[in-house]
Amino acid sequence: MPTVTLTIDGQQVTVPKGTTVLEAAWKAGSFVPTFCHDPELTKPGACRICVVEIKGARNLPASCVTAAAEGMIVETASPAVIDARKTILELMLDNHPEDCLTCHQAGDCKLQDYAYFYNVKPGAFGGECKNYEIEDDNLFIVRNMNKCILCGKCLRACEEKQGRAVIDFAYRGFRTKVATALDKPLADSVCVSCGTCVSVCPTGALTEKAMLGSARKWEVQKVRTTCPFCGVGCNFDLNVKGGKVIGVTSNAAAPANGRDLCVKGRFGTDYVHSPKRLTKPLIKKNGEFVESTWDEALDLVASKFGEIKTKFGSDSIAALSSARCTNEDNYVMQKFMRAVIGTNNVDHCART
């Protein structure tokens, strides 16, 4: 593969041809912030936070959309670059609510992180600030467009990953807004609540409704697992706090789905904590289920199976194994039927 060699912050770095300056800078270990850039989505070069200084260039190009070229000399933290980035952050903060204290995204917010890193404070210019109503009238996603910095990742993900384009930029200039058709709430749009937009949002503009107020970002323990709905085999992270599953977040390393999920995977795992869960063995006595101990229940089943096997033969017993249980559960079930009961009467609803 052809390569190019360039100098980034005084350090030579060789990258494959076609690599962006941003990727090369990261490879060289330089810090370059990004908002609108996403490795899996098209590159609009819009937020401009990743500008760098390139010797000979008229302006400060956005590194995410500039191809690394042979002999290029790049500064990622020159005074001009830092000042431009600070200005961009100041402009963003001046059109953004100052409620980091209670914002769900705090601790996992790029705007917050960069403002901290560059020591930028709100109020540099003041002036008009957007003032949209917070949209929380659907069951899955809360949209606070006042926190939106218009990076457009949500709408690109919606179109490029989910193939839906439920949202797009609407209006223009300072009034630009990410909106559904006719600027209706998500609930009145063709949105199917997959939440992919939430997974790519760099600020608190889009949040999972169920998780709001449940935990600070740093309190959450993430456990990667495989989705229990349908046969695609999506992976995601169960978010756990205090021994409770509080929700699901994407895990970019998931092989079949990346960060994309559907409404069930992202918002449906709360069934685990349903109050209707069965929590005790039950034995039907006189037509009513009565709670029992494990020993009592297991012994009863073991003896009943034993009796029937003795009386009517192994083939008088059958098992329905489960297409929803793990491989290990299924293996032990068929082994149990074959080795313990002594029959091949084991099946599952393989056909639905």
Binding site: L155, A165, V166, A170, Y171, A179, T180, A181, D183
Partner: protein, 163 residues
């Protein structure tokens, strides 16, 4: 579950026929959205939501994208425009002399908000920063006529002049 589709046959208006002809011309034509929107606006006088939805379906473009394009360009209107455009001056002079009262009275009289158009398409009501007739404050412009030194009781007679 939105509208029940089981009652009543939709009657196709002459405008819908025209829209269909327009769409026939541009179906499968790359980049046809803006000319279609321009044509549709000529047909309907503005771009009704249902028309936008039809256009999005027929051109196989996401509805959100169609809406994004419509709201980007100044030429397109999502609401019908009246035959007469009333511009209420809310400049400093008019403001001090009760321009907002006049504005409110007009809103009440016409039953529309700022930027709104009456159902009979007779009037569109808009506010403007200043029409430069401060000496006549509070004042409004209807089409090219300026009406000054207004009191709310006079509005009805003035509106009468415009059909």
């Amino acid at each position: 579950m939105a509208v029940c589709k089981c009652t009543g046959e939709q009657v196709e208006s002459p405008q819908d026929v025209q829209l269909n002809e327009l769409l026939d011309h541009y179906r499968g034509y790359a980049g046809g959205l803006i000319p279609v929107l321009q044509g549709a606006q000529e047909i309907y006088g503005y771009l009704p939501a249902e028309v936008l939805e039809t256009i999005s379906q027929e051109l196989k473009l996401p509805f959100s994208e169609v809406f994004g394009v419509v709201t980007f360009y100044a030429q397109f209107h999502l609401k019908p425009r009246g035959r007469n455009i009333i511009r209420v001056c809310l400049g400093t002079a008019c403001h001090v002399l009760g321009g907002s009262k006049i504005f409110q009275a007009l809103k009440d009289e016409l039953g529309v908000e700022n930027g709104g158009t009456t159902e009979d398409l007779r009037f569109t009501l808009e506010s403007v920063a200043c029409i430069g007739a401060c000496g006549l404050a509070p004042c409004i412009m209807i089409n090219d006529d300026t009406h000054g030194r207004l009191v709310t009781s006079a509005l009805k007679n003035i509106l009468e002049q415009y059909k």
